[in-house]
């Protein structure tokens, strides 16, 4: 018995060792997960929902691979997608789209105007997510199988909505109507199904681990043998793990790696680094109703006391640019000729003296604790602003808490709110109105800015967008000038989106209009 125990223990150990050795010697290590026809995108957050009508979150990385919209942004221009051409009435209230023929959904059903009407109407009816992009629409009319007409309530540039990254996708109406009512369809889709016409269809969906998509053989765009048969989105929250995976080709493409490591990766022969400005901007929203920042001179003093270029170097390692206006570079509404603030300490001190706060003051900044960049920004601002004798308290909060405080009584809220905005639809209005238009109840106007002249200008400009874009832009320019002068927020920087991808793939192009999306159809094998 005594020896038996010892023998048993030894046997178990030997078995483990033998199994290990067997695996080690059987060449398992050569079985790289990426067989030639598979491409894996390592993504940092989990999927939430999958219904194109309501999805307004991370699953954006899947949707444009499974579904298509009428039009698509490419390099800032609007290009045909499911619509091949379109016309607009002179007063911009009637938009007619001509659909691509011989497009098939994954079920085999052909795409018709009926599908467009059904999809947009369902999105409007459900009223969730980004459905507000269809607010101007009065009626969607089917003219014939391949022509669809949108009648609007007021003049509007509808292409902004038909190219949107959310809520613009066209679904297979015949297939989905069989699944029941809107809620039942949503349930069906969220379980992990799709009903699109995109180049890939969904084969397996585990929102916390991975999503597998296979190529749709009947895709209207056709296929060549360099493209990938299987596209996988793998959820890997840990950044350093994603970095290890992409450098060893366990995954082929990823983003959101630690910026400190990017210079090393640029020298790594196995991977390529792609840094493209995205349509994002980071602001310091200043509380314009609570002392001391309700004083314009104080706000301006802070604006001059901020070393913008150093901030970009320190926080983004240079992967970004100093912001020149409230609209991201590359979007319409971005103007380089606006008066901007540059780092000038003596001017800052002068303004502070003039304001009567020369003795300094204590004030509070809040930022999103989950965001490493915001943390660095907060610390940097604290040390920079201390040079003009003001004492900034920085407070890390989770986003929901930070926003809840921001929406509470402005007199008790934070003084500075570090805030990102990225477009829901590519119009300057989305930025200017969301953050600076007066609000009855605080929402995203976290500077509590209230200027009726500014409000009128942007409201008019939105309507003009559909009729006369030039005129609209000149109004936006005027509005932005007012903002720069009143200084309700500091425009800090435009970050770049940094993707790192294996040199086994080519054809990757970051499209900032569809943030975080990898269009798998565009990718090709290098060998």
């Amino acid at each position: 018995m005594e020896t038996k125990v010892l023998v048993a223990v030894i046997v178990v150990i030997v078995i483990i060792a033998a199994v290990g050795a067997y695996f080690a010697l059987s060449g398992e290590k050569k079985e790289k997960p990426a067989t030639p026809s598979t491409v894996i995108y390592g993504y940092n957050v989990e999927m939430i929902t999958l219904d194109p009508s309501t999805e307004y979150s991370n699953s954006i990385v899947m949707l444009p691979n499974l579904y298509e919209a009428l039009t698509k942004y490419v390099n800032g221009d609007i290009k045909p997608w499911l619509a091949t051409s379109w016309e607009v009435s002179s007063n911009a209230t009637v938009w007619t789209f001509h659909l691509r023929e011989n497009v098939k959904f994954h079920s085999g059903n052909p795409l018709t105007a009926e599908d467009v009407k059904w999809s947009i109407e369902r999105t409007i009816r459900m009223g969730l997510g980004a459905s507000f992009i269809w607010d101007p629409v009065k009626e969607v009319k089917v003219i014939d199988d391949y022509t669809v007409e949108f009648d609007l309530k007021y003049p509007y540039n509808l292409l902004v909505s038909t190219s949107a990254a959310y809520a613009a996708y066209i679904m297979d109406s015949k297939f989905l109507s069989q699944k029941g009512n809107d809620a039942q369809i949503a349930e069906y889709l969220n379980e992990g199904h799709d009903a699109g016409s995109g180049p890939y269809y969904l084969t397996s969906y585990d929102p916390k681990t991975e999503v597998v998509m296979k190529k749709f053989d009947d895709y209207w765009g056709g296929w060549n043998d360099k493209q990938f048969d299987i596209a996988i989105i793998k959820i890997v929250p840990d950044a350093s793990l994603r970095e290890q995976m992409v450098t060893s080709n366990e995954i082929q493409i990823t983003r959101e790696l630690p910026l400190d490591d990017i210079p090393t990766l640029e020298n790594n022969p196995n991977v390529k680094v792609d840094a493209t400005p995205n349509y994002q901007e980071l602001y310091a929203m200043l509380n314009t109703v609570k002392p001391p920042l309700n004083n314009k001179l104080v706000r301006k003093a802070l604006a001059y006391a901020t070393p913008y270029q150093d901030l970009v170097e320190y926080v983004l390692n240079g992967y970004g640019e100093v912001a020149k206006c409230p609209i991201p570079k590359g979007m319409s509404g971005y103007f380089e000729d606006l008066p901007t603030y540059t780092y000038n300490l003596s001017k800052a001190r002068e303004l502070l003296n003039e304001s009567g706060y020369s003795g300094g003051f204590h004030f509070l900044l809040t930022y999103n604790a989950a965001d490493v960049a915001e943390k660095k920004v907060a610390e940097f601002l604290k040390s920079s602003w201390s040079k003009i004798g003001v004492d900034l308290e920085v407070r890390a909060m989770n986003w929901e808490q930070q926003w809840a405080l921001g929406r509470s009584d402005p007199q008790k809220a934070q003084d500075v709110f570090i805030f990102y905005w990225w477009p829901d639809y590519l119009s300057p209005y989305d930025f200017l109105a969301t953050m600076f238009h007066s609000e009855e109840e605080t929402y995203f106007n976290l500077c509590y800015y209230n200027n009726s002249e500014f409000d009128d200008l942007v409201d008019q400009a939105l309507i003009l967008e559909g009729i006369d874009m030039q005129k609209a832009l000149s109004l936006y320019h005027e509005a932005e000038e007012i903002l720069m002068e009143d200084c309700p927020a500091l425009c800090l920087y435009y970050p770049e989106d940094v993707y790192v991808y294996s040199n086994t793939i080519t054809g990757f192009r970051d499209n900032p209009a569809y943030p975080q999306v990898v269009f798998f159809y565009e990718l090709q094998k290098t060998s």
Partner: protein, 339 residues
């Protein structure tokens, strides 16, 4: 007290403990200023959506009413809907828990074998180099942070040697080519039952590094415990008698000493099981293991209170029941406790 009475007494006690834990966690997680409605609707919502969410989540009602709703759901086995993922918490947790359970079982398996063997040898060869090595190993196991150790293992066995995979439970491609019919959620067991050898091999392959990392702490504990108990037992009179009778050393160690030394070591195994549940939080992040730890981390970071309470219930239950089982095993092994 009869055994079954004792068990019922302990179970009732367990339910009381868990109820208090739920109450505390519910109120603490709700008193911290946050906005569950904002989390529910996601980025860039409209005011109407927020209002709608508040109604759906009963956020406009008093906290005590919300607590009542929660308890009512709980009695029906409903842990609520996660605010972050919009999935039923129970479903999420079950799935995550099986992944963690598999990891913990394998880790404890490693820990017991390595720990007991190392402990016994250290005791027998007290103050020799084996003992010193064992001590070093045990101390580093207890004191080295799991995330550091895990990364070292990754560097060595994946980067340098290329023997073991970097992360995950099983390779995506393997799963695609050999789909696994999931029965228990423990991949190793499921693939064994269904005879899916490719996945079986792949799953074992993947679990080695995270399980070893997780085993480090219990290895240290068990080694030290087994060693000190063994040394104590070896000084007992009956061992001296056995020696005097001229019994072979091996029989003395394995038959007479180990049996008495192992009972206290088992308690440590039980306690370390609870620890590994916590340790799994970090290990799962490093190895991208889709388990309870990762789920809990996200839940806490985003103040997703139904998910937080769900995890706490699971963790508290695990603690309480592991303790109960350890006590019962101990009673079985050691007649002195039974009175």
């Amino acid at each position: 007290m009869k055994l079954w009475e004792y068990i019922i007494y302990r179970l009732v006690l367990a339910i009381v403990v868990i109820f208090f834990v739920i109450t505390i966690v519910f109120f603490v997680s709700r008193v911290i200023p946050s906005d569950p409605a904002a989390l529910w609707v996601g980025a860039h919502p409209t005011p109407e959506e927020i209002e709608k969410a508040k109604e759906e989540l009963h956020l406009n009602e008093p906290l005590i009413t919300q607590f009542y709703y929660y308890l009512r759901g709980l009695l029906h086995g409903d842990l609520g809907i996660s605010i972050r993922t919009h999935h039923p918490v129970l479903e999420d947790i079950t799935k995550a828990f099986t992944a963690t359970l598999e990891l913990i079982i394998v880790a404890e398996f490693f820990a017991v074998i390595i720990g007991i063997v190392l402990g016994v040898y250290s005791a027998v060869k007290k103050d020799s180099w084996i003992d010193n090595l064992g001590r070093l190993f045990a101390i580093s196991g207890v004191s080295l942070p799991a995330f550091w150790f895990g990364m070292v293992l990754q560097l060595l066995f994946f980067r340098q040697l290329g023997w073991l995979p970097l992360s995950g439970r099983v390779d995506t491609i393997v799963m695609l080519e050999h789909p696994l019919h999931v029965i228990t959620g423990l991949y190793i067991l499921d693939s064994l039952i269904t005879g899916n050898w490719v996945v079986f091999k792949n799953a074992i392959w993947h679990i080695i590094l995270p399980a070893l990392t997780l085993a480090m702490y219990p290895v240290g504990l068990i080694t030290r415990q087994a060693r000190s108990m063994m040394i104590e037992v070896l000084q007992e009179n009956y061992i001296r008698t056995a020696r005097a009778y001229g019994l072979p050393e091996r029989i003395i160690y394995m038959k007479y000493a180990l049996k008495n030394a192992i009972a206290p070591a088992l308690i440590v195994v039980g306690l370390s099981l609870a620890y590994t549940l916590v340790g799994a939080f970090l290990v799962e992040i490093i190895f991208n293991w889709p388990g309870l730890g990762r789920y809990a981390t996200y839940a806490i970071l985003s103040m997703d209170y139904p998910a937080i309470i769900g995890v706490v219930i699971i963790a508290a239950s695990a603690y309480v029941f592991i303790n109960l089982i350890v006590d019962l095993i101990q009673m079985y092994l050691d007649p002195r406790i039974r009175v």
